[in-house]
Symmetry: C2
Subunit: 298 residues, 2 copies
């Protein structure tokens, strides 16, 4: 294979931003203006996706795990650099599928691919995306701004990551498995809400409970969450079932705190911020102990 | 191993930029102002470095291959995002060495590490760096600005990549092998010259001849290079020996064209730009045929 041919055929068509100069140069010119943020996530075959996941879905997941971080900070995705370490011997058809998935979500999230690198490897497929974001307001909304008295809101539904992973591991090809492979993530409208209203914000990627704990610690406050108020992907029969969904990873929804009591569109109120420095849960208005495992620990 | 512990111990100490907020958040705030550019390079164990290369040298190489692209555009390195896909089972001592090498060159190139990702892999070590640069002048100096009548200059010496690789493959531990592992690259002073004087510029990474051919094509001009004027890493006995050094990769020096006849400090004049669209060589003032292989083709 000639790396240059593959770049011409599959990558260059996705590169339309003026600053990228159609990849004719060594670097890309970044867009300027406003406050910009950046994030980077890496997906490794066999670790962050299953070896037999269709590669167009892996490409979409790569965009989404990064876009989720940008949305959660009250910003919109802007420009991306892509690195592909491609296993020798994998077919051109598969590379085509990967790039189609990436192209689909570059368009969906209005993101400009401006450069990157494409190399061979004897190991598993490794994908890295660096993504910049343009803040909608004066700056990035941090994890550290929650204040006692604020309300706690969660975007979307919690548990699709856990439900989807179970289905995908079982070889499922239905909608549930699809939601592990191509996660439902936060929206541009929710990013606008973060920018307009949130005192603190983060994306939930390792499990609602562990990430709520992290936000509590970053803000030096208590987070009291009514676990039975959390909107779930599927009905849970009991407290144990709810906890399982709330401590599964790969959800990519936004957890915010805000001083307004009114629930913003696309969010559900699930608790309140208290004086303290940790997470506390209630179920049917009674305190319950925290489970031993709050989520995915790296 | 806990990824979080390793991040705390080895990565967080390198993160001092204000916009990175000590990695307490999901994203980093990018510095604003001026014209900024970005590049990304990936190094794969066994492909871009040898499996037994000391990891501090690999860390330095990662910084340098990216910084070289930034310098060649008339800019200085500014902010970096780092992704490490770390082979399960490699020791903490090796990770410490990798991060010491990266830290050394972050300091040497005055670059702020602002974020990234750290994941496990069953495969070889894969390192990706996204690096932004601040243009010293009004913009990025492209490959496409050379005009007939310009002079051609090369920074530093050509051939250290080829000499060093041969030494490193032979298990060498001396200075020559060191120059493959930790390439000599362009300097901030040379980047200033690019910004002040160059009509076109690029970094030589796949071999002087192939990259000169690329610059000729990007600018739609001819490049006539006096091959015996090229400053070499080691004495070459004949034309064949010179060609070999001038078509080896991993040199990371800057090739520029400029309308001034005076040779800037740190550069050597090696030819002139003509009407045409290709590379032409002379040796002892006589035209010579181009070799079949001009450099490393990806």
């Amino acid at each position: 294979m000639s790396e240059r041919d593959w770049i011409d055929r599959y990558i260059r068509p996705l590169v339309t931003a003026k600053g990228a100069d159609a990849l004719r140069d060594d670097v890309a010119m970044l867009t300027s203006g406003g406050v910009q943020i950046a994030t980077m996530d890496t997906l490794v075959e066999g670790v962050h996706f299953l070896a037999d996941d269709p590669l167009d879905t892996v490409g979409q997941k790569l965009l989404r795990v990064n876009a989720s971080d940008i949305h959660a900070k009250g910003a919109l995705p802007l420009e991306a650099l892509l690195s592909v370490a491609w296993p020798k011997g994998r077919s051109e058809t598969e590379f085509d599928a990967l790039m189609r998935g990436i192209g689909r979500d570059l368009a969906a999230y209005k993101t400009a691919l401006i450069g990157g690198d494409f190399v061979s490897t004897d190991g598993p497929l490794v994908l890295t995306l660096a993504l910049t974001g343009q803040c909608l307001g004066k700056g990035s909304v941090r994890r550290s701004g929650a204040r006692a008295g604020d309300s706690i809101f969660i975007g979307g539904e919690i548990g699709w990551g856990a439900v989807g992973l179970a289905a995908a591991r079982g070889g499922g090809s239905g909608q549930d498995a699809g939601r592990y492979r191509v996660p439902l993530i936060s929206t541009a409208a929710q990013a606008r809400t973060v920018s307009d209203s949130a005192t603190a914000s983060m994306d939930v990627s390792d499990g609602l409970l562990i990430d709520a704990q992290r936000l509590a610690q970053a803000s030096s406050v208590g987070l009291e969450i009514a676990i039975d108020a959390v909107p779930l992907a599927v009905d849970a029969p009991d407290l144990e079932g709810i906890i399982r969904l709330c401590s599964g990873g790969d959800d990519y929804q936004i957890l915010i705190t805000a001083s307004n009591d009114e629930t913003p569109a696309g969010f559900t109120k699930i608790g309140r911020v208290t004086v303290g420095n940790s997470l506390a849960l209630t179920y049917k208005n009674e305190p319950v102990n925290l489970p031993e495992t709050l989520g995915f620990e790296h």
